[in-house]
Protein backbone atom coordinates (compact mmCIF):
# COMPACT_ATOMS: atom_id res chain seq x y z
CA UNK A 1 0.00 0.00 0.00
CA UNK A 2 2.94 2.34 0.72
CA UNK A 3 4.10 1.95 -2.87
CA UNK A 4 0.65 2.74 -4.26
CA UNK A 5 0.24 5.87 -2.11
CA UNK A 6 3.71 7.15 -2.90
CA UNK A 7 3.14 6.62 -6.64
CA UNK A 8 -0.14 8.55 -6.38
CA UNK A 9 1.57 11.42 -4.57
CA UNK A 10 4.38 11.43 -7.11
CA UNK A 11 2.01 11.48 -10.10
CA UNK A 12 -0.11 14.22 -8.56
CA UNK A 13 2.98 16.34 -7.85
CA UNK A 14 4.37 15.80 -11.35
CA UNK A 15 1.03 16.80 -12.92
CA UNK A 16 0.87 19.81 -10.61
CA UNK A 17 4.38 20.99 -11.46
CA UNK A 18 3.79 20.53 -15.20
CA UNK A 19 0.44 22.31 -15.22
CA UNK A 20 1.57 25.19 -13.01
CA UNK A 21 4.35 25.93 -15.51
CA UNK A 22 1.86 26.43 -18.35
CA UNK A 23 1.23 29.81 -19.88
CA UNK A 24 -2.50 30.15 -19.30
CA UNK A 25 -4.15 30.82 -15.99
CA UNK A 26 -6.61 27.90 -16.05
CA UNK A 27 -3.95 25.15 -16.24
CA UNK A 28 -1.96 27.03 -13.60
CA UNK A 29 -4.93 27.02 -11.23
CA UNK A 30 -5.47 23.30 -11.91
CA UNK A 31 -1.77 22.67 -11.33
CA UNK A 32 -1.86 24.44 -7.98
CA UNK A 33 -4.90 22.37 -7.02
CA UNK A 34 -3.06 19.15 -7.94
CA UNK A 35 -0.06 20.27 -5.90
CA UNK A 36 -2.24 20.95 -2.88
CA UNK A 37 -3.92 17.53 -3.26
CA UNK A 38 -0.51 15.92 -3.38
CA UNK A 39 0.72 17.73 -0.30
CA UNK A 40 -2.45 16.98 1.63
CA UNK A 41 -2.09 13.28 0.89
CA UNK A 42 1.59 13.49 1.83
CA UNK A 43 0.79 15.10 5.18
CA UNK A 44 -1.86 12.47 5.90
CA UNK A 45 0.46 9.52 5.34
CA UNK A 46 3.21 11.08 7.43
CA UNK A 47 1.45 9.49 10.43
CA UNK A 48 2.24 6.14 8.72
CA UNK A 49 -0.36 3.98 7.01
CA UNK A 50 -2.32 1.85 9.47
CA UNK A 51 -5.67 0.12 9.12
CA UNK A 52 -8.32 -0.32 11.79
CA UNK A 53 -6.51 1.50 14.58
CA UNK A 54 -8.37 4.17 16.57
CA UNK A 55 -6.85 7.67 16.75
CA UNK A 56 -8.24 8.33 20.26
CA UNK A 57 -7.70 6.48 23.52
CA UNK A 58 -9.69 3.29 23.72
CA UNK A 59 -9.43 0.52 26.32
CA UNK A 60 -9.53 -2.29 23.75
CA UNK A 61 -6.99 -0.87 21.32
CA UNK A 62 -3.51 -2.34 21.07
CA UNK A 63 -2.19 0.18 18.55
CA UNK A 64 -3.14 3.71 17.66
CA UNK A 65 -3.21 5.75 14.48
CA UNK A 66 -1.44 9.12 14.77
CA UNK A 67 -4.20 11.74 15.08
CA UNK A 68 -1.99 14.79 14.57
CA UNK A 69 -1.46 14.49 10.77
CA UNK A 70 -5.23 14.25 10.42
CA UNK A 71 -5.61 17.54 12.27
CA UNK A 72 -2.80 19.10 10.24
CA UNK A 73 -4.27 17.96 6.94
CA UNK A 74 -7.68 19.30 7.90
CA UNK A 75 -6.12 22.74 8.44
CA UNK A 76 -4.14 22.45 5.22
CA UNK A 77 -7.24 21.46 3.23
CA UNK A 78 -9.24 24.42 4.54
CA UNK A 79 -6.39 26.83 3.74
CA UNK A 80 -5.76 25.43 0.25
CA UNK A 81 -9.50 25.53 -0.43
CA UNK A 82 -9.66 29.20 0.42
CA UNK A 83 -6.52 29.94 -1.58
CA UNK A 84 -7.87 28.09 -4.63
CA UNK A 85 -11.11 30.07 -4.46
CA UNK A 86 -9.10 33.28 -4.27
CA UNK A 87 -6.82 32.40 -7.17
CA UNK A 88 -9.80 31.42 -9.37
CA UNK A 89 -11.48 34.77 -8.77
CA UNK A 90 -8.18 36.56 -9.33
CA UNK A 91 -7.54 34.80 -12.64
CA UNK A 92 -11.10 35.62 -13.77
CA UNK A 93 -10.43 39.24 -12.85
CA UNK A 94 -7.16 39.13 -14.78
CA UNK A 95 -8.96 37.61 -17.79
CA UNK A 96 -11.59 40.34 -17.74
CA UNK A 97 -9.13 43.20 -17.22
CA UNK A 98 -6.44 42.09 -19.66
CA UNK A 99 -8.67 40.52 -22.28
CA UNK A 100 -6.78 37.23 -22.42
CA UNK A 101 -5.91 34.36 -20.12
CA UNK A 102 -2.13 34.42 -20.46
CA UNK A 103 -0.33 34.52 -17.14
CA UNK A 104 1.80 37.50 -18.17
CA UNK A 105 -1.18 39.28 -19.73
CA UNK A 106 0.36 39.33 -23.22
CA UNK A 107 -1.64 37.81 -26.02
CA UNK A 108 0.21 35.53 -28.42
CA UNK A 109 -1.56 34.57 -31.63
Amino acid sequence: MELLVSIIIGVLTACGVYLSLRGRTFPVVLGLTFLSYAVNLFLLVMGRLTIGNPPIINDNAANYADPLPQALVLTAIVISFGMTAFVIILSLKAFLEMGNDQVDGKHRP
Binding site: V28, L32, L35, V39, F42, L43, M46, G82, L90, V103
Partner: protein, 513 residues
Protein backbone atom coordinates in the same frame (compact mmCIF):
# COMPACT_ATOMS: atom_id res chain seq x y z
CA UNK B 1 4.59 32.52 35.74
CA UNK B 2 2.34 33.24 32.82
CA UNK B 3 2.87 36.59 31.21
CA UNK B 4 -0.35 37.40 29.38
CA UNK B 5 1.20 40.28 27.48
CA UNK B 6 2.62 37.67 25.07
CA UNK B 7 -0.78 36.93 23.56
CA UNK B 8 -1.78 40.58 23.05
CA UNK B 9 0.06 41.22 19.76
CA UNK B 10 -1.94 38.31 18.29
CA UNK B 11 -5.32 38.94 19.95
CA UNK B 12 -5.47 42.70 19.39
CA UNK B 13 -5.24 42.71 15.56
CA UNK B 14 -7.55 39.68 15.38
CA UNK B 15 -10.25 41.44 17.41
CA UNK B 16 -9.66 44.71 15.57
CA UNK B 17 -9.92 42.95 12.20
CA UNK B 18 -13.20 41.25 13.14
CA UNK B 19 -14.72 44.41 14.61
CA UNK B 20 -13.72 46.44 11.57
CA UNK B 21 -15.35 43.85 9.31
CA UNK B 22 -18.57 44.15 11.28
CA UNK B 23 -18.65 47.96 11.23
CA UNK B 24 -20.95 49.43 8.61
CA UNK B 25 -19.16 50.56 5.46
CA UNK B 26 -20.48 54.12 5.53
CA UNK B 27 -18.94 55.03 8.88
CA UNK B 28 -15.49 55.71 7.49
CA UNK B 29 -14.45 58.03 10.30
CA UNK B 30 -15.38 55.47 12.95
CA UNK B 31 -13.41 52.79 11.18
CA UNK B 32 -10.39 55.04 10.83
CA UNK B 33 -10.53 55.95 14.52
CA UNK B 34 -10.98 52.32 15.58
CA UNK B 35 -8.16 51.22 13.33
CA UNK B 36 -5.78 53.87 14.67
CA UNK B 37 -6.77 53.08 18.26
CA UNK B 38 -6.09 49.38 17.65
CA UNK B 39 -2.67 50.07 16.22
CA UNK B 40 -1.85 52.36 19.16
CA UNK B 41 -2.76 49.55 21.57
CA UNK B 42 -0.62 47.16 19.60
CA UNK B 43 2.30 49.55 19.73
CA UNK B 44 1.87 49.75 23.50
CA UNK B 45 1.70 45.95 23.80
CA UNK B 46 4.86 45.54 21.71
CA UNK B 47 6.63 48.16 23.83
CA UNK B 48 5.61 46.45 27.08
CA UNK B 49 6.77 43.11 25.73
CA UNK B 50 10.13 44.57 24.71
CA UNK B 51 10.49 45.97 28.20
CA UNK B 52 9.59 42.61 29.74
CA UNK B 53 12.02 40.52 27.68
CA UNK B 54 14.83 43.00 28.16
CA UNK B 55 15.74 41.24 31.40
CA UNK B 56 16.78 38.21 29.34
CA UNK B 57 13.71 36.18 30.28
CA UNK B 58 12.00 34.08 27.61
CA UNK B 59 8.24 34.05 28.05
CA UNK B 60 6.42 30.92 26.92
CA UNK B 61 2.66 31.04 26.52
CA UNK B 62 1.00 27.63 26.29
CA UNK B 63 -2.22 28.10 24.34
CA UNK B 64 -5.05 26.02 25.78
CA UNK B 65 -2.74 25.13 28.69
CA UNK B 66 -1.31 22.10 26.87
CA UNK B 67 2.15 21.45 28.13
CA UNK B 68 4.80 21.60 25.39
CA UNK B 69 5.68 19.82 23.15
CA UNK B 70 2.04 18.73 22.75
CA UNK B 71 0.21 22.01 22.42
CA UNK B 72 1.04 25.11 20.44
CA UNK B 73 3.22 27.62 22.25
CA UNK B 74 3.88 31.29 21.69
CA UNK B 75 7.41 32.26 22.64
CA UNK B 76 8.52 35.82 23.25
CA UNK B 77 12.26 36.31 23.40
CA UNK B 78 14.35 39.37 22.60
CA UNK B 79 14.28 38.77 18.84
CA UNK B 80 10.49 38.34 18.69
CA UNK B 81 9.87 41.49 20.74
CA UNK B 82 12.29 43.48 18.59
CA UNK B 83 10.48 42.40 15.41
CA UNK B 84 7.09 43.21 16.96
CA UNK B 85 8.16 46.74 17.84
CA UNK B 86 9.54 47.38 14.34
CA UNK B 87 6.33 46.01 12.77
CA UNK B 88 4.10 48.14 14.98
CA UNK B 89 6.08 51.31 14.21
CA UNK B 90 6.01 50.75 10.44
CA UNK B 91 2.33 49.80 10.52
CA UNK B 92 1.45 52.97 12.45
CA UNK B 93 3.09 55.18 9.82
CA UNK B 94 1.55 53.24 6.93
CA UNK B 95 -1.89 53.54 8.49
CA UNK B 96 -1.43 57.28 9.16
CA UNK B 97 -0.67 57.66 5.46
CA UNK B 98 -3.62 55.50 4.40
CA UNK B 99 -6.25 57.32 6.47
CA UNK B 100 -5.70 60.41 4.36
CA UNK B 101 -7.79 58.86 1.60
CA UNK B 102 -6.37 55.74 -0.02
CA UNK B 103 -8.33 53.55 2.38
CA UNK B 104 -11.52 54.62 0.56
CA UNK B 105 -10.51 53.01 -2.74
CA UNK B 106 -11.75 49.55 -1.81
CA UNK B 107 -13.79 47.81 0.83
CA UNK B 108 -12.35 46.47 4.08
CA UNK B 109 -8.92 48.11 3.88
CA UNK B 110 -8.67 48.49 7.65
CA UNK B 111 -9.87 44.96 8.43
CA UNK B 112 -7.35 43.49 5.98
CA UNK B 113 -4.61 45.71 7.37
CA UNK B 114 -5.15 44.33 10.87
CA UNK B 115 -5.41 40.74 9.65
CA UNK B 116 -2.08 41.23 7.92
CA UNK B 117 -0.65 42.43 11.23
CA UNK B 118 -2.14 39.35 12.91
CA UNK B 119 -0.21 37.16 10.49
CA UNK B 120 3.02 39.14 10.94
CA UNK B 121 2.88 39.24 14.75
CA UNK B 122 1.87 35.58 14.94
CA UNK B 123 4.77 34.53 12.72
CA UNK B 124 7.19 36.38 15.01
CA UNK B 125 5.78 34.87 18.20
CA UNK B 126 4.94 31.30 17.38
CA UNK B 127 7.09 28.43 18.62
CA UNK B 128 5.53 25.78 16.39
CA UNK B 129 6.44 25.07 12.79
CA UNK B 130 2.94 24.23 11.56
CA UNK B 131 1.53 27.24 13.37
CA UNK B 132 4.15 29.30 11.54
CA UNK B 133 2.69 27.97 8.28
CA UNK B 134 -0.82 29.00 9.39
CA UNK B 135 0.31 32.52 10.30
CA UNK B 136 2.15 32.73 6.96
CA UNK B 137 -1.09 31.89 5.18
CA UNK B 138 -2.98 34.51 7.19
CA UNK B 139 -0.48 37.20 6.34
CA UNK B 140 -0.33 36.11 2.70
CA UNK B 141 -4.09 36.02 2.18
CA UNK B 142 -4.39 39.49 3.70
CA UNK B 143 -1.45 40.71 1.62
CA UNK B 144 -3.01 39.37 -1.62
CA UNK B 145 -6.11 41.43 -0.98
CA UNK B 146 -4.16 44.49 0.16
CA UNK B 147 -1.94 44.26 -2.91
CA UNK B 148 -5.00 44.38 -5.15
CA UNK B 149 -6.59 47.15 -3.06
CA UNK B 150 -7.84 49.90 -5.31
CA UNK B 151 -7.85 47.73 -8.42
CA UNK B 152 -6.22 48.31 -11.79
CA UNK B 153 -4.70 46.29 -14.57
CA UNK B 154 -1.07 46.41 -13.43
CA UNK B 155 -2.00 45.47 -9.87
CA UNK B 156 -3.96 42.47 -11.10
CA UNK B 157 -1.10 41.27 -13.25
CA UNK B 158 1.51 41.69 -10.50
CA UNK B 159 -0.95 40.23 -8.00
CA UNK B 160 -1.49 37.06 -10.06
CA UNK B 161 2.24 36.33 -10.16
CA UNK B 162 2.58 37.09 -6.45
CA UNK B 163 -0.31 34.80 -5.51
CA UNK B 164 0.77 31.87 -7.71
CA UNK B 165 4.39 31.88 -6.57
CA UNK B 166 3.38 32.13 -2.93
CA UNK B 167 0.92 29.24 -3.31
CA UNK B 168 3.76 27.10 -4.66
CA UNK B 169 5.86 28.30 -1.71
CA UNK B 170 3.15 27.23 0.73
CA UNK B 171 3.05 23.78 -0.86
CA UNK B 172 6.82 23.42 -0.44
CA UNK B 173 6.48 24.56 3.18
CA UNK B 174 3.94 21.80 3.82
CA UNK B 175 6.15 19.18 2.19
CA UNK B 176 9.02 20.24 4.45
CA UNK B 177 6.82 20.29 7.57
CA UNK B 178 5.36 16.87 6.68
CA UNK B 179 8.81 15.35 6.18
CA UNK B 180 10.06 16.71 9.51
CA UNK B 181 6.98 15.43 11.31
CA UNK B 182 7.21 12.02 9.65
CA UNK B 183 10.85 11.65 10.69
CA UNK B 184 10.92 13.27 14.10
CA UNK B 185 7.32 13.12 15.30
CA UNK B 186 7.12 16.71 16.52
CA UNK B 187 6.60 20.21 15.17
CA UNK B 188 7.40 22.22 18.26
CA UNK B 189 10.55 24.16 17.33
CA UNK B 190 12.32 23.61 20.66
CA UNK B 191 11.49 19.91 20.61
CA UNK B 192 12.56 19.70 16.96
CA UNK B 193 15.92 21.19 17.92
CA UNK B 194 16.43 18.43 20.51
CA UNK B 195 15.25 15.66 18.19
CA UNK B 196 17.31 16.88 15.22
CA UNK B 197 20.46 16.84 17.32
CA UNK B 198 19.86 13.22 18.21
CA UNK B 199 18.70 12.08 14.78
CA UNK B 200 19.59 8.65 13.51
CA UNK B 201 22.13 8.34 10.71
CA UNK B 202 19.69 6.98 8.13
CA UNK B 203 17.35 9.95 8.66
CA UNK B 204 20.00 12.65 8.28
CA UNK B 205 19.71 13.00 4.51
CA UNK B 206 15.93 13.42 4.67
CA UNK B 207 16.20 15.95 7.49
CA UNK B 208 18.68 17.91 5.38
CA UNK B 209 16.24 17.86 2.47
CA UNK B 210 13.44 19.13 4.69
CA UNK B 211 15.70 21.82 6.15
CA UNK B 212 16.78 23.03 2.73
CA UNK B 213 13.17 22.98 1.46
CA UNK B 214 12.30 25.24 4.38
CA UNK B 215 15.21 27.47 3.40
CA UNK B 216 13.80 27.70 -0.13
CA UNK B 217 10.42 28.77 1.29
CA UNK B 218 11.93 31.40 3.59
CA UNK B 219 14.19 32.61 0.77
CA UNK B 220 11.09 33.06 -1.37
CA UNK B 221 9.42 35.18 1.33
CA UNK B 222 12.63 37.13 1.85
CA UNK B 223 13.15 37.58 -1.94
CA UNK B 224 16.61 36.02 -1.97
CA UNK B 225 18.43 35.79 -5.30
CA UNK B 226 16.78 33.28 -7.59
CA UNK B 227 13.39 33.83 -5.98
CA UNK B 228 13.12 37.63 -5.98
CA UNK B 229 11.41 38.19 -9.33
CA UNK B 230 7.92 38.52 -7.87
CA UNK B 231 8.87 41.47 -5.69
CA UNK B 232 9.61 44.48 -7.92
CA UNK B 233 6.32 44.39 -9.85
CA UNK B 234 4.22 43.64 -6.78
CA UNK B 235 5.75 46.36 -4.61
CA UNK B 236 5.99 48.96 -7.36
CA UNK B 237 2.36 48.78 -8.42
CA UNK B 238 0.54 48.55 -5.13
CA UNK B 239 -0.80 51.45 -3.06
CA UNK B 240 1.86 53.41 -1.19
CA UNK B 241 0.59 52.61 2.31
CA UNK B 242 0.46 48.90 1.48
CA UNK B 243 3.95 48.98 -0.04
CA UNK B 244 5.21 50.65 3.14
CA UNK B 245 3.70 47.86 5.23
CA UNK B 246 5.14 45.27 2.83
CA UNK B 247 8.61 46.65 3.64
CA UNK B 248 8.38 44.51 6.80
CA UNK B 249 6.99 41.47 4.95
CA UNK B 250 10.29 40.46 3.34
CA UNK B 251 11.86 40.75 6.79
CA UNK B 252 9.56 37.92 7.95
CA UNK B 253 11.54 35.62 5.66
CA UNK B 254 14.80 36.94 7.10
CA UNK B 255 13.44 36.48 10.62
CA UNK B 256 12.44 32.86 9.90
CA UNK B 257 15.86 32.11 8.43
CA UNK B 258 17.50 33.54 11.54
CA UNK B 259 15.17 31.73 13.93
CA UNK B 260 15.04 28.29 12.32
CA UNK B 261 18.72 28.10 11.38
CA UNK B 262 20.00 29.22 14.78
CA UNK B 263 17.52 27.18 16.80
CA UNK B 264 16.81 23.95 14.89
CA UNK B 265 19.71 23.70 12.43
CA UNK B 266 22.21 25.77 14.41
CA UNK B 267 25.67 24.91 15.69
CA UNK B 268 24.32 22.42 18.22
CA UNK B 269 22.29 20.39 15.73
CA UNK B 270 24.76 17.53 15.54
CA UNK B 271 24.69 15.88 12.11
CA UNK B 272 22.84 18.73 10.40
CA UNK B 273 24.54 21.66 12.15
CA UNK B 274 24.98 24.92 10.23
CA UNK B 275 22.88 23.53 7.40
CA UNK B 276 22.65 26.65 5.26
CA UNK B 277 25.96 28.31 6.14
CA UNK B 278 27.42 27.43 2.74
CA UNK B 279 24.41 28.84 0.90
CA UNK B 280 23.30 31.94 2.73
CA UNK B 281 26.30 34.25 2.44
CA UNK B 282 26.98 33.84 -1.33
CA UNK B 283 23.28 34.08 -2.15
CA UNK B 284 22.91 37.18 0.02
CA UNK B 285 25.86 38.91 -1.63
CA UNK B 286 24.51 38.09 -5.09
CA UNK B 287 21.07 39.37 -4.07
CA UNK B 288 22.70 42.61 -3.00
CA UNK B 289 24.43 42.95 -6.39
CA UNK B 290 21.28 42.12 -8.36
CA UNK B 291 19.21 44.50 -6.24
CA UNK B 292 21.60 47.35 -6.93
CA UNK B 293 21.68 46.52 -10.66
CA UNK B 294 17.90 46.76 -10.50
CA UNK B 295 18.05 50.21 -8.92
CA UNK B 296 20.40 51.35 -11.68
CA UNK B 297 18.13 50.00 -14.42
CA UNK B 298 14.83 51.22 -12.96
CA UNK B 299 12.75 53.63 -14.98
CA UNK B 300 10.41 54.61 -12.17
CA UNK B 301 11.01 55.68 -8.60
CA UNK B 302 8.72 53.06 -7.03
CA UNK B 303 10.41 50.32 -9.02
CA UNK B 304 13.74 51.64 -7.79
CA UNK B 305 12.58 51.56 -4.18
CA UNK B 306 11.37 47.97 -4.67
CA UNK B 307 14.86 47.01 -5.86
CA UNK B 308 16.31 48.88 -2.87
CA UNK B 309 14.20 46.59 -0.68
CA UNK B 310 15.85 43.60 -2.41
CA UNK B 311 19.29 45.14 -1.90
CA UNK B 312 18.53 45.73 1.78
CA UNK B 313 17.50 42.08 2.16
CA UNK B 314 20.84 41.18 0.57
CA UNK B 315 22.71 43.33 3.09
CA UNK B 316 20.67 42.00 5.98
CA UNK B 317 21.21 38.34 5.08
CA UNK B 318 24.90 39.01 4.47
CA UNK B 319 25.04 40.07 8.12
CA UNK B 320 23.06 37.02 9.27
CA UNK B 321 25.05 34.77 6.94
CA UNK B 322 28.30 35.48 8.76
CA UNK B 323 26.82 33.33 11.51
CA UNK B 324 28.69 35.01 14.35
CA UNK B 325 27.40 37.11 17.21
CA UNK B 326 28.64 40.43 15.88
CA UNK B 327 27.17 39.74 12.43
CA UNK B 328 23.71 38.88 13.73
CA UNK B 329 23.78 41.88 16.06
CA UNK B 330 24.73 44.18 13.17
CA UNK B 331 21.95 42.67 11.05
CA UNK B 332 19.42 43.28 13.81
CA UNK B 333 20.50 46.92 13.91
CA UNK B 334 20.30 47.20 10.12
CA UNK B 335 16.86 45.55 9.97
CA UNK B 336 14.76 48.39 11.50
CA UNK B 337 16.82 50.98 9.65
CA UNK B 338 16.23 49.38 6.25
CA UNK B 339 12.54 48.79 7.00
CA UNK B 340 11.91 52.38 8.07
CA UNK B 341 13.93 53.85 5.21
CA UNK B 342 12.26 51.62 2.60
CA UNK B 343 8.77 52.41 3.90
CA UNK B 344 9.52 56.15 4.00
CA UNK B 345 10.78 56.09 0.41
CA UNK B 346 7.63 54.27 -0.78
CA UNK B 347 5.46 56.93 0.87
CA UNK B 348 7.59 59.78 -0.48
CA UNK B 349 7.54 58.26 -3.98
CA UNK B 350 3.75 58.37 -3.82
CA UNK B 351 3.79 62.03 -2.72
CA UNK B 352 6.10 62.83 -5.66
CA UNK B 353 4.02 60.80 -8.12
CA UNK B 354 0.85 62.63 -7.04
CA UNK B 355 2.42 65.97 -7.90
CA UNK B 356 3.79 65.09 -11.34
CA UNK B 357 0.50 64.49 -13.09
CA UNK B 358 0.78 62.00 -15.97
CA UNK B 359 4.53 61.68 -15.51
CA UNK B 360 3.92 60.07 -12.12
CA UNK B 361 7.23 58.72 -10.81
CA UNK B 362 8.96 58.05 -14.13
CA UNK B 363 12.56 59.15 -14.41
CA UNK B 364 11.94 61.70 -17.13
CA UNK B 365 11.93 65.47 -17.00
CA UNK B 366 8.43 66.44 -15.92
CA UNK B 367 6.60 69.40 -14.51
CA UNK B 368 7.99 71.31 -11.57
CA UNK B 369 6.88 69.56 -8.42
CA UNK B 370 4.80 71.55 -6.00
CA UNK B 371 6.45 72.03 -2.63
CA UNK B 372 9.62 70.84 -4.32
CA UNK B 373 11.88 72.25 -1.64
CA UNK B 374 10.48 70.16 1.18
CA UNK B 375 10.00 67.05 -0.99
CA UNK B 376 13.45 67.42 -2.48
CA UNK B 377 15.05 67.82 0.94
CA UNK B 378 13.27 64.74 2.23
CA UNK B 379 14.29 62.77 -0.86
CA UNK B 380 17.90 63.86 -0.41
CA UNK B 381 17.98 62.86 3.26
CA UNK B 382 16.28 59.52 2.60
CA UNK B 383 18.63 58.77 -0.29
CA UNK B 384 21.65 59.48 1.91
CA UNK B 385 20.06 57.36 4.63
CA UNK B 386 19.42 54.33 2.47
CA UNK B 387 22.75 54.54 0.65
CA UNK B 388 24.48 54.45 4.04
CA UNK B 389 26.17 57.84 4.08
CA UNK B 390 27.43 59.20 7.39
CA UNK B 391 26.17 60.46 9.77
CA UNK B 392 22.82 58.69 9.38
CA UNK B 393 21.72 55.30 10.72
CA UNK B 394 22.40 53.47 7.44
CA UNK B 395 26.06 54.29 7.87
CA UNK B 396 26.13 52.85 11.38
CA UNK B 397 24.32 49.71 10.20
CA UNK B 398 26.74 49.09 7.35
CA UNK B 399 29.72 50.00 9.52
CA UNK B 400 28.67 47.40 12.10
CA UNK B 401 28.23 44.79 9.37
CA UNK B 402 31.69 45.47 7.93
CA UNK B 403 33.20 45.47 11.40
CA UNK B 404 31.60 42.10 12.09
CA UNK B 405 33.04 40.81 8.80
CA UNK B 406 36.64 41.57 9.86
CA UNK B 407 37.39 38.15 11.39
CA UNK B 408 35.37 36.31 8.72
CA UNK B 409 37.04 34.28 5.98
CA UNK B 410 34.96 35.93 3.25
CA UNK B 411 36.01 39.42 4.34
CA UNK B 412 37.26 40.64 0.90
CA UNK B 413 34.01 39.59 -0.76
CA UNK B 414 31.77 41.14 1.89
CA UNK B 415 33.80 44.34 2.09
CA UNK B 416 34.02 44.71 -1.68
CA UNK B 417 30.39 43.98 -2.47
CA UNK B 418 28.88 46.07 0.33
CA UNK B 419 31.04 49.12 -0.39
CA UNK B 420 30.75 49.04 -4.19
CA UNK B 421 27.00 48.46 -4.12
CA UNK B 422 26.73 51.39 -1.70
CA UNK B 423 28.37 53.60 -4.32
CA UNK B 424 26.07 52.34 -7.08
CA UNK B 425 23.00 52.89 -4.90
CA UNK B 426 24.10 56.47 -4.47
CA UNK B 427 24.56 56.89 -8.24
CA UNK B 428 21.15 55.38 -8.98
CA UNK B 429 19.37 57.58 -6.45
CA UNK B 430 21.25 60.69 -7.57
CA UNK B 431 20.24 60.02 -11.18
CA UNK B 432 16.59 59.58 -10.23
CA UNK B 433 16.53 62.58 -7.95
CA UNK B 434 18.20 64.94 -10.40
CA UNK B 435 15.87 63.77 -13.18
CA UNK B 436 12.79 64.53 -11.12
CA UNK B 437 13.87 67.62 -9.23
CA UNK B 438 16.61 69.43 -11.22
CA UNK B 439 15.44 68.79 -14.76
CA UNK B 440 11.83 69.72 -14.06
CA UNK B 441 10.39 72.09 -16.63
CA UNK B 442 7.65 74.66 -16.67
CA UNK B 443 4.32 73.07 -17.59
CA UNK B 444 3.96 74.46 -21.17
CA UNK B 445 7.11 72.72 -22.37
CA UNK B 446 5.95 69.25 -21.58
CA UNK B 447 2.39 69.78 -22.80
CA UNK B 448 0.65 69.60 -19.48
CA UNK B 449 -2.16 71.93 -18.72
CA UNK B 450 -0.97 74.54 -16.21
CA UNK B 451 -4.03 74.01 -14.02
CA UNK B 452 -3.55 70.27 -13.88
CA UNK B 453 -1.83 70.49 -10.55
CA UNK B 454 -4.24 72.93 -9.01
CA UNK B 455 -6.70 70.28 -7.93
CA UNK B 456 -3.94 68.85 -5.79
CA UNK B 457 -3.14 72.13 -4.04
CA UNK B 458 -5.85 71.41 -1.47
CA UNK B 459 -3.82 68.55 -0.04
CA UNK B 460 -2.40 69.43 3.31
CA UNK B 461 1.30 68.86 2.92
CA UNK B 462 1.73 68.47 6.69
CA UNK B 463 -0.50 65.42 7.11
CA UNK B 464 0.78 63.94 3.89
CA UNK B 465 4.43 64.10 4.82
CA UNK B 466 4.01 63.48 8.55
CA UNK B 467 4.36 59.66 8.27
CA UNK B 468 7.51 60.09 6.15
CA UNK B 469 8.94 62.43 8.77
CA UNK B 470 8.03 60.03 11.58
CA UNK B 471 9.82 57.17 9.80
CA UNK B 472 12.81 59.43 9.29
CA UNK B 473 12.66 60.37 12.96
CA UNK B 474 12.78 56.68 13.92
CA UNK B 475 15.95 56.33 11.86
CA UNK B 476 17.43 59.36 13.58
CA UNK B 477 16.36 57.77 16.88
CA UNK B 478 18.34 54.68 15.84
CA UNK B 479 21.29 57.01 15.32
CA UNK B 480 20.98 58.89 18.61
CA UNK B 481 20.43 55.80 20.76
CA UNK B 482 22.76 53.65 18.67
CA UNK B 483 24.77 52.69 21.76
CA UNK B 484 21.80 51.35 23.69
CA UNK B 485 20.34 49.67 20.61
CA UNK B 486 23.55 47.89 19.62
CA UNK B 487 23.80 46.72 23.23
CA UNK B 488 20.29 45.28 22.92
CA UNK B 489 20.98 43.64 19.53
CA UNK B 490 24.24 42.16 20.84
CA UNK B 491 22.52 40.47 23.78
CA UNK B 492 19.76 39.37 21.37
CA UNK B 493 22.35 37.76 19.11
CA UNK B 494 24.04 36.03 22.04
CA UNK B 495 20.62 34.75 23.18
CA UNK B 496 20.00 33.37 19.67
CA UNK B 497 23.37 31.63 19.59
CA UNK B 498 22.57 29.84 22.84
CA UNK B 499 19.50 27.93 21.69
CA UNK B 500 19.54 25.83 24.86
CA UNK B 501 18.03 28.84 26.68
CA UNK B 502 15.06 28.81 24.31
CA UNK B 503 14.74 25.03 24.40
CA UNK B 504 14.84 24.87 28.18
CA UNK B 505 12.29 27.61 28.66
CA UNK B 506 9.87 25.88 26.29
CA UNK B 507 10.32 22.28 27.31
CA UNK B 508 10.60 22.87 31.06
CA UNK B 509 7.45 24.93 31.18
CA UNK B 510 5.28 23.92 34.12
CA UNK B 511 1.63 24.10 33.20
CA UNK B 512 -0.74 24.76 36.08
CA UNK B 513 -3.57 22.29 36.24
Amino acid sequence: MINHIVIFPVILPLLAGILLLLMPQRHLLFRRAASLAAIALQLAAAGLLLNAVNSGAIFVYALGNWSPPFGIVLVADRLAAWMLVVTALVATCALLYAVRGTDKDGAHFHALFHLQLLGLNGAFLTGDLFNLFVFFEILLLASYSLLLHGGGRLKTKAGLHFVVINLVGSTLFLFAVGTLYGLLGTLNMADLAVKVAGAQTEDVALIQIAGLLLFAVFALKAALLPLYLWLPAAYAHTTAAVAALFAIMTKVGAYCILRVYTLIFGTQAGPVSNLIEAWLLPLALMTLIIGVFGTLASTRLRQQVAYLVIASIGTLLTAFGMNNEAGIAAGLFYLPHSTFAGAALFLLADCIANRRDVMEDQFEPGPIIQQQRILGTLFFILAALIAGLPPLSGFIGKFLILQAALPHAALPWIMGVVLITGLFTLIALARGGSMMFYRAQAPHICHIHPDANLQRSGISVTTELAPVVYLLAFCIGLLIWAGAITEYTTVTASQLLQPELYIQSVLNLEVKQ
